[in-house]
Each structure stands twice: as structure tokens, then as C-alpha cells.
């Protein structure tokens, strides 16, 4: 049912979608590019993963068996998903209050907040990642401050730990959460919150019954982007996590570029694709559920 029909307004007759070629033709360039540069390589990836040996001569599933039969690799999969989960939680917990500030701010401050949110995107992720070495290092800003304040007796180990990596990724991925969230927030009808307050609801009740459900699509979209981006953030994972933290992207790099075992690299890449896909689907499902409640 079209929105107009749902609203009970009679709309002028338009031909059904399939008969209007102009619209779907607009998607053709992207569809062709998508097929050529994503579907074909993906197909190749699947084919390559079904070979036993590095020289890609014997068909078989030895690499799949090796990968899925080894508890170490299962732990790597779990760690990768866990990293994405923690980053999503951290960005959402820090980002959502900022989005609320944005919602309550005047147009001028909204522009300032938006600029500050976009600012990190203007520098390369490599630069931001290396900056985190300076911040998290043993003689870095955080440790120097903690030592100076006398809060810790010796420098904390922050680099090459999971929480250090989550801290860095939270900052690096924050714009991905905030941009969809702010765009949904800015379209929210302010009268709804006023009405809620006028009907006697407390600020918290308004937040949980009005603002949160209405901003949920933006929050869910942001969380999906953050999850997909943080689980595949090879540079940040490798530079900040080092070799102590092993995630799927590191394995793909090692197998494809150092060892030249492309079948195993393909197996790892497909595993990453599936686990990220499942994670994103799970976030979307949670979002749908919450919306049904609201």
C-alpha cells in the first residue's frame, strides 16, 4: 500500500513499477559495476577456496577442513565478532548522548556538532591510527597523565590490548554511528516530545518511549556500519593490536600476501564475510524487534 493510499488520499493513477523503465534503468550503472567488481570477484573467491593446494591445482575442501577444524581459528572468529560488538556498544553509549545534545541544540550549535563529527573523516585512517600509538603508548598522553596524577604506580599497558583497541576504534568509527543517527534525529518532529511532556511524561519516559524508538532506524543503521567497519579495520587492528591480537583480516593478509596460500586466504575471507553478515543481520533483527515493541 502506498503511503498516500494508507492516508486515505486518492492518488492519480500511475503505471505499476515494472512498466516504468526509466526508474530501474537509473540503477543500471551501479548494478553493472556491482556485478563486475563485487559479484565476479566474490565468485572467484568461492572457487579459489575450493582448492586443496597453494598452486590452485587440486580441487577439494582441505583448506576449509583445516580452518574450521582448528579451535584457534574459531577463537579468531569469535574475537573478531567480539571486537565488533564491543566497538558498537562503546560507540552507541558515547555517541547517543551526543546525538541527544544535537537534538536539543539550536541550528548554529547543530552545525558546529555536525562539523566536529565529520572532522575525523577528513584525516586518513592511517594517520588517526598512528596518532593512537602516541596516545596509548607507555610514554603516551594517557599514561603520562595518569602517572602525573599519581593514579597508577607504573604505566598501564594499553597498546596491544583489546580494550586499547576498542578505545581507538570507538573514536575512529564514531562518525559512522553519528551520521545516520543525526540525520534521523534532525527529521524528528519536536512537537512529539513536547506533547509527551505536556501529557505528564517524565524526561526519561519521553526518552525511552518517544525519542529512542523514533531514532532507532538511525541508531541501527549506525551500529551496522560500525560493526562492519570495525571487524574489518585491518590497519587499526594490526597497528594498535599488533601480533598479540589476531583477527580475521590479519589472517587474510598473511595468507594472501606473505605465504601466498590463496585458498586458505579465500576461506578466511569468506568466513569474515559470513560472520560480519551475520553480525549485521543480528543488529538489524534487534532493531526490528525493538521497533515492534515501541
Amino acid at each position: 500500500m502506498t503511503p498516500a493510499a494508507r492516508a486515505g488520499v486518492s492518488s492519480p493513477w500511475r503505471p505499476p513499477a515494472v512498466m516504468r523503465p526509466a526508474e530501474w534503468q537509473l540503477a543500471l550503472p551501479l548494478a553493472v559495476a556491482y556485478a563486475a567488481f563485487f559479484l565476479v570477484p566474490l565468485g572467484l573467491l568461492i572457487v579459489v577456496s575450493a582448492f586443496d593446494d597453494e598452486k590452485i591445482t587440486t580441487v577439494g575442501f582441505a583448506q576449509w577442513r583445516k580452518f574450521l577444524g582448528d579451535p584457534f581459528y574459531w577463537k579468531v572468529i569469535l574475537d573478531t565478532v567480539k571486537l565488533g560488538f564491543f566497538t558498537v556498544v562503546a560507540t552507541a553509549l558515547i555517541g547517543y548522548p551526543l546525538a541527544l545534545v544535537y537534538l536539543g541544540a539550536g541550528p548554529r550549535w547543530q552545525r558546529v556538532i555536525l562539523f566536529v563529527v565529520i572532522l575525523p573523516l577528513l584525516t586518513s585512517v592511517v594517520v588517526r591510527t598512528f596518532a593512537w600509538i602516541v596516545i596509548l603508548g607507555r610514554e603516551g598522553v594517557i599514561n603520562q597523565s595518569l602517572l602525573w596524577l599519581g593514579l597508577v604506580p607504573a604505566p598501564l599497558r594499553l597498546l596491544q590490548t583489546e580494550h586499547g583497541l576498542v578505545i581507538a576504534l570507538t573514536q575512529i568509527e564514531m562518525p559512522l554511528l553519528l551520521l545516520p543517527l543525526l540525520s534521523v534525529m534532525s527529521r524528528m518532529d519536536p512537537n512529539l516530545r513536547d506533547a509527551s511532556a505536556g501529557l505528564g511524561a517524565s524526561k526519561w519516559r519521553t526518552l525511552f518511549r518517544i525519542t529512542l524508538p523514533l531514532s532507532l532506524p538511525g541508531l541501527v543503521a549506525g551500529c551496522m556500519l560500525v560493526f562492519a567497519s570495525s571487524t574489518t579495520a585491518f590497519i587499526s587492528q594490526f597497528v594498535i593490536g599488533g601480533n598479540r591480537l589476531v583477527y580475521l583480516p590479519l589472517l587474510i593478509w598473511q595468507q594472501s600476501l606473505v605465504v601466498y596460500n590463496w585458498p586458505l586466504a579465500a576461506v578466511t575471507a569468506l568466513t569474515l564475510l559470513v560472520s560480519v553478515g551475520l553480525g549485521v543481520a543480528a543488529i538489524a533483527a534487534v532493531g526490528r524487534r525493538r521497533r515492534a515493541y515501541a
Partner: protein, 343 residues
């Protein structure tokens, strides 16, 4: 104002003229160009400053550089299947052996280099030519740690709690770990003793990092001792970092960086000119100066004072490795390293 009316004829004439002009431009560059894969960072900067202008001046050849690490070059060339994305490789010994095994290089005729006589014996073979040497040993911060003597010191206190490590992804990392293993009874093909020993001290090790992040980690004081090459030490010192190079008791490790012509290249002539320029005395001498800090291979170049040897011949006494034996084992070592050192 009269609007410009473009008829088909006018369009074709101007198109032909434009095309002709482009061709003329091509004629002016008749000597052409060569596309070379190049290590990003120090190498790329140094080559841009010293090789590009001299190659242009002496041979009228333009050098285009594609920044790629050795392993990436092999992967790209292999994926391209006979239509290489560049004409010349620059490689460490491990990837060099892989390249030979997978038939990625054009047969090299060393006699075409005018500087051949200036290079040490064995510097050129039928796969390519040596353009630089690397010496690997220990780099440490003398203000924070006593001077280490041997590879085994890396795994002892007080050094181990400031140790920065990398795995088998790089050439210098691999040879250093082999040398540590040797001190504990291992060999070029047996690094088992290293894994046994590292396990005992793993929780103390300060950093196990990505190779590209090691200089930053050292500069930030995250680690104060690491295995590294003379070039990295000299570069960090140039930036004011407290770091000194130590030749371990069992000897420093030497390996050579080589250049090769990609099979299927159409710029073979220019590739030889490029290699000849790189190994010529003026270029080698310029590459040795800070901030480049290369180790030259041309005998006419007088070695810098801070290098751990006084002549190129002395390098024959340094520890060398046979990468045709190491390569087949490397995948297993990398997997083992992941499993042993991951938290």
C-alpha cells in the same frame, strides 16, 4: 556573440589534431619510461630524490614508481598472469626465491650493466642484480638499557621487558628469530627452540607489533630494544631518537636487496638502464647519505663511518641464510607464531 557551432566535420578535425598533438608529445619522450615497484617510505623518497633525476639526465628515461612491499609485488605479478603491472621488481631474498620458483622474472643478462665490474662477485645472476645490502642486528636505547651482547640477551631481563618483536612476515624478523633459535640449539630450518624460549617470557615482552609500526613504537618508548636493520637505526637517530646498533656476538646478519625484470615487460631496455643507474657510484653514494642510509654495493663508494663494517668484502663474514630452505617452512612458522603469541 555568435554561438560556437560544432559540426561533425569540425569535431573530427579537432579530434584528429588533438590526437596528433598527443603523439608528438609521445615523440618528445621517445626514450620512454620504466615502471618500477618500489618499497614505500625511505626507498621511495630516496629514489625520487636521487635516481629519478639522474636516470632522466643520463638516459632520458622517466622512472614511474609503484609503492609496494616485496610480498605485495609477488602477489600482484602472480595475479596479473604475464601482464605485469610494473617492469621492475625490488625484492628481499625470500620473495626473490618465490619469484624465481614461480617464473615471474625475465632472464637477466648482467653483461648489459656497465657498472658490473664495480659490484662484488656474485652480485648479479641470471635472475637479477643486487642493488643494496641490509645488515640486521639489535637496536637498543642506550639511555634506558645496558648494552646487549648477544641474541639471547633479548629474552633475558632487563632487556626482555622492553623488547619489541615482529613475527615472520618480514625478512629481518625471520632472520632474527632464526638467529635467536640458533643460540638455543636450533638452525636455519628449526626454530622450535625459539618458540620454547619465548613462551617462558612472553608475558614480559613489551610489544609484538606490525612491522610498519615498529619505528613508531620505539620512538614512543613502547619498546627500547628490538631486532632491526642499520637503515632503520640510522633513520630513527636522524629523527633524534636514542638508538644504537649492536652487532651480536654470533655476528650480524646480512642479506641483499635485488632488482629483477618482470616477465612480459615491454620496457626491458629501459629497465637495464634503470638498474645500471641505481648501482652507479654517484647514486649509491647519494643513497648512503642520511636520511636514506642505504648500504651500498658499488666498490667505488667509501662506506659511512657508522656502518658495522669497513668494506663490502667484510660482509662475506656476516651470517647469511638460504631462503630456498626457509620459504617452504615460513607458512608453518607464521601460523605457529600466531598461535603462540596471541593472547
Amino acid at each position: 556573440m555568435t554561438p560556437i557551432r560544432l559540426t561533425r566535420r569540425h569535431f573530427l578535425i579537432s579530434a584528429a589534431a588533438t590526437y596528433g598533438a598527443t603523439m608528438l608529445g609521445g615523440l618528445a619522450h621517445a626514450k620512454g619510461s620504466v615502471t618500477a615497484a618500489m618499497y614505500p617510505g625511505t626507498w621511495e623518497d630516496a629514489f625520487r630524490a636521487h635516481v629519478v633525476p639522474i636516470l632522466k639526465k643520463t638516459h632520458d628515461v622517466d622512472l614511474e614508481m609503484t609503492p609496494l612491499f616485496a610480498v605485495d609485488q609477488i602477489a600482484k605479478a602472480q595475479a596479473a598472469r604475464g601482464a605485469p603491472p610494473f617492469d621492475a621488481f625490488v625484492l628481499d631474498p625470500g620473495p626473490r626465491v618465490t619469484g624465481i620458483e614461480r617464473g615471474l622474472f625475465d632472464k637477466f643478462d648482467a653483461k648489459r650493466l656497465t657498472n658490473l665490474a664495480k659490484l662484488p662477485a656474485g652480485a648479479a645472476d641470471e635472475s637479477g642484480v643486487t642493488v643494496a645490502a641490509q645488515v640486521v642486528g639489535i637496536g637498543y636505547n642506550p639511555k634506558k638499557l645496558p648494552r646487549p651482547k648477544s641474541w639471547t640477551d633479548l629474552l633475558k631481563d632487563p632487556w626482555v621487558s622492553s623488547l619489541g618483536m615482529t613475527g615472520f612476515q618480514t625478512t629481518y624478523g625471520t632472520v632474527s628469530i632464526i638467529e635467536i633459535a640458533k643460540q638455543f640449539g636450533g638452525s636455519e630450518t628449526n626454530v622450535e627452540p625459539f618458540f620454547v624460549e619465548i613462551k617462558k617470557v612472553l608475558s614480559k615482552v613489551a610489544a609484538i607489533g606490525a612491522p610498519a609500526s615498529m619505528p613508531s613504537l620505539f620512538q614512543q618508548g613502547q619498546c627500547d630494544i628490538t631486532y632491526t636493520n642499520t637503515q632503520t637505526v640510522a633513520t630513527l637517530r636522524g629523527r633524534g631518537v636514542d638508538i644504537e646498533f649492536v652487532k651480536p656476538q654470533s655476528g650480524a646478519v646480512a642479506f641483499f636487496t635485488t632488482m629483477h625484470i618482470a616477465k612480459g615487460s615491454k620496457e626491458i631496455e629501459n629497465a637495464y638502464k634503470y638498474f645500471d643507474t641505481v648501482v652507479s657510484a654517484p647514486v649509491q653514494s647519494a643513497l648512503m647519505q642520511p636520511p636514506n642510509n642505504f648500504i651500498p654495493v658499488n666498490r667505488d663508494v667509501k662506506l659511512a663511518a657508522d656502518l658495522p663494517m669497513t668494506s663490502l668484502d667484510e660482509m662475506a663474514k656476516f651470517v647469511r641464510h638460504d631462503w630456498s630452505k626457509i620459504n617452504p617452512l615460513r607458512a608453518g612458522w607464521i601460523e605457529r607464531f600466531n598461535k603462540e603469541v596471541a593472547k
